[in-house]
């Protein structure tokens, strides 16, 4: 009877240890793969390492969209600070000057090299961080 109990205790301890370790590993994986969301102002005031993928949201500044070969560059503004973005590829149908955009990419010499450009599937979309501005 006693050994049975002991065995059970060991099982429970082992199980809790394993699940604890599992949870920690998932959390570690989470923390090393997060995309931080910034507005241009936040991006300029906070120190962001260049190997960290960032999401930047704001409005496409009027008159800022330029194309050279297959590279499109534009400026994202939050109406106080701006940041330049360059991207290779087709921008979404709803991408236009003066409307909301979210880009995903890496910071490189004060500019963002975007891997992805997203415009919300809604003409009235505003990035959440800009709603109260």
């Amino acid at each position: 009877m006693k050994t049975h109990r002991k065995k059970r205790l060991i099982n429970v301890l082992l199980l809790s240890f394993l699940s604890g370790a599992g949870v920690l590993m998932v959390l570690y994986a989470l923390n090393s793969n997060l995309d931080y969301f910034f507005t241009p102002s936040e991006l300029l005031t906070e120190e962001v390492p260049s190997n960290r993928r960032v999401k930047v949201g704001g409005m496409v500044q009027e008159g800022s969209v330029r194309r050279e070969d297959s590279i499109i560059s534009f400026t994202i503004t939050d109406y106080s600070k701006t940041i330049d973005v360059s991207y290779t590829g087709i921008v979404p149908d709803l991408f236009k000057e003066g409307s909301g955009v979210v880009v995903l990419g890496y910071l490189n010499n004060g500019k963002v090299d975007a891997e992805k450009v997203l415009a919300k599937h809604d003409e009235n979309y505003m990035p959440p961080a800009l709603q109260d501005k």
């Binding site: 998932v26 989470l30 194309r67 297959s70």
Partner: protein, 630 residues
């Protein structure tokens, strides 16, 4: 007038579902007359609700824009097909359909005779009260019957053009059928707990229901993936968007559930685990509804934000979880845990894989909720994307496939016979290694994790092929659905890996008549037309492509829809045996050139083929169960 009747019938149906629940509470549930009464009461409530929905479909078909929801989401110019599907293009109508399906599953279950009257009636009672909860949610927070007063608009606002698509028209209903189907195992397992007799093998009774719901979920998810691939123009099949993830979680849980159900019916272990899983699967389905409907998570799928809806659903899910888990814990003593699983038996491998399923579900749940928690704690917006999910899913899937392959040589209830013959395993390993080397020769350098995935994908496929061949030679029974579904899994892993290393894309700027080269493909911009269609204007670019001695045309489009002024892109895809050539057109530059995107998507068709194999295997399981019963 018809709108009012439809609305009234829904309210009446809610009242009768409530009555059904009360009958289950007060009557003697083991008596046959009470059973008949409960059965009839449920059927009446369901039929009234169904009529209410059919009237609503009629309202949509006849362009009754005095109904506010129809006015906002349909349009008289739409083909009839899309007038009907516009009902589930937004929140209220989706919820309406959701509940119709929920009660439809209950109706099918109600028609079916069960030897244990008490458990059957209890299940009907549980299903009824869940339906009532959702009907109240519909009528109070998301009423689709609201009338525009005093004058109806002349025309409706139209359905979002990206949703005017056959795959998307059937994707939500299939997915909903899957989600709500798990109400049957959920209700039945709770009824089993209330009934309190351990001898009842509820696992066998809910198997076909669970597999059916799983089939719908599998098809629903794949249809969504397929649609996103050709309609959104990004060329991917899965984006780890929160709304995709909330469909994936119940699918994973249901897959684990189906496996552990068969373990329980084979060797009477994992019974507590099955009860817990039946609760988890249904709760995850409801959680999916909550995430999509509440708009709490930022996603391209989320419907309009409404905190009231979110709070109601959250409270409802909390009550269901609280009651069911409470019941589960209070009946814990029903089972003694004297029966252990032998290590290296078939049960042990399936149990281990159940744990791996659990890890995937937990990680996905963390990925969805972590941004919310993080923002609360640190006031910093974050998002969790593909890198996290890849980091978790790839290694866990590989571990699970090792267990799967090991389980093929194992037996129920006893350890693997180590002295037995493993020649088939060795041959499959050898063939797969040769296959991997051959693939490596053509592809070049691959990341280690991809190499492992390709290898395991091949091992699964060849191991099951060997199994089938040997069974045919020795005239032994083959578990066809298992072989089919698992070979499908092997194919899925193989095609996802191959897709991720082989696929490539390039952006060109081209004027009409210009020629570009990309990976042995010659692309000529042959013409540009302007088309005027009934509900949109379109710019259609036609390209002449030449590859491997074959010549064909692809015509991607850019459309502007009248009703909403929305601009959409239509991709053009050439399907070849191993790859898709995928063409999209962007905007026109100042110098007259157009931005063109060419993608080569390898093995993408095999991803959906593998899902189809899994769904088919589910159908075979159901066919076998029905045949055995008859």
């Amino acid at each position: 007038m018809i709108a009012e009747i439809s609305h009234y019938l829904s309210i009446l149906s809610t009242a009768i579902f409530m009555l059904t629940f009360s009958l289950v509470l007060v009557l003697d549930r083991s008596a046959s007359h009470a059973t008949l009464l409960i059965k009839r009461s449920y059927s009446h409530a369901f039929i009234l609700f169904l009529i209410s929905f059919l009237l609503y479909v009629y309202l949509a078909l006849t362009d009754n824009f005095s109904v506010s929801y129809i006015a906002q989401h349909s349009n008289s110019l739409l083909p009839n097909f899309y007038k009907v599907t516009s009902i589930w293009s937004a929140h209220e109508g989706s919820m309406f359909l959701w509940i119709v399906f929920l009660s439809l599953w209950g109706f099918a279950f109600n028609l079916h005779n069960d030897s244990n009257l008490n458990v059957k009636n209890l299940s009907i009672g549980i299903i009824s009260i869940i339906i009532v909860g959702f009907q109240l949610f519909l009528l109070v927070t998301s009423n689709p019957f609201e009338i525009v007063l005093p004058f109806a608009p002349e025309n409706g606002a139209d359905i979002n053009p990206v949703l005017q698509d056959p795959a998307l028209a059937i994707h939500p209903p299939t997915l909903y059928l899957g989600y709500v189907g798990f109400v049957i195992p959920f209700a039945y397992s709770l009824a089993f707990l209330i009934n309190g007799k351990k001898s009842l093998d509820w696992e066998k009774k809910v198997k076909s229901w669970s597999v059916m719901a799983w089939v719908f979920l599998t098809i629903g998810i794949s249809l969504g993936s397929w649609w996103a691939y050709y309609e959104l123009g990004w060329g991917g099949y899965w984006f780890w968007d929160p709304v995709e993830n909330v469909a994936l979680m119940p699918w994973l849980a249901a897959t684990a559930f189906i496996h552990s159900l068969s373990v329980a019916s084979k060797s009477n272990v994992l019974r507590i685990w099955n009860l817990l899983l039946s609760i988890i699967v249904f709760s995850l389905s409801l959680f999916g509804a909550f995430i999509v409907r509440s708009g709490i998570i930022d996603s391209i799928h989320s419907f309009a934000n409404d905190p009231q809806r979110g709070m109601y659903l959250l409270a409802f899910i909390a009550i269901i979880l609280f009651v069911s888990l409470g019941l589960f814990i209070s009946r814990f003593s029903m089972f003694d845990s004297s029966k252990n699983i032998k290590s290296l038996s078939k049960e042990s491998f399936i149990s281990l894989n159940n744990i791996f399923f659990g890890v995937l579900i937990f990680s996905t749940m963390m990925g969805i909720t972590y941004p919310l928690i993080y923002e609360l704690l640190y006031n910093q917006k974050i998002s969790v994307g593909a890198p996290f999910y890849n980091a978790i899913y790839a290694p866990i899937t590989i571990l699970a496939t090792i267990m799967l392959v090991a389980s093929i040589d194992s037996k129920w209830g006893r350890p693997i016979d180590m002295k037995g013959s493993f020649s088939m395993l060795y041959i499959s390993l050898a063939i797969s290694l040769i296959g991997l080397i051959a693939i490596g020769y053509f592809v070049g350098n691959m990341p280690f994790i991809i190499m492992l995935s390709i290898f395991m994908g091949l091992v699964i496929i060849f191991r099951y092929l060997m199994l089938i061949i040997s069974n045919i030679v020795h005239k032994k029974y083959t578990n066809t659905p298992s072989a089919l579904a698992h070979a499908g899994l092997g194919l899925l892993i193989l095609s996802i890996s191959a897709n991720s290393i082989l696929s490539s894309e390039k952006v060109f700027n081209m004027k009409p008549n210009e020629i570009r080269e990309f990976q042995n493909i010659t692309i000529q911009f042959s013409e540009l037309e302007l088309l005027n269609k009934s509900n949109h204007d379109s710019i259609r670019a036609t390209f002449s492509l030449n590859t491997e001695g074959k010549q064909f045309y692809l015509s991607p489009e850019k459309r502007k829809y009248f009703a909403r002024g929305q601009i959409t892109s239509e991709t053009a895809i050439k399907i070849m045996p191993l790859k898709d050539i995928y063409l999209t057109i962007g905007e026109q530059l100042d110098n007259g050139q157009w931005v063109i995107n060419v993608q080569l998507n390898y093995f993408i068709r095999f991803i959906w083929l593998s899902a189809a194999m899994m769904a088919l295997s589910g159908l075979i399981i159901i066919k076998n169960i029905i045949r055995r019963r008859a």
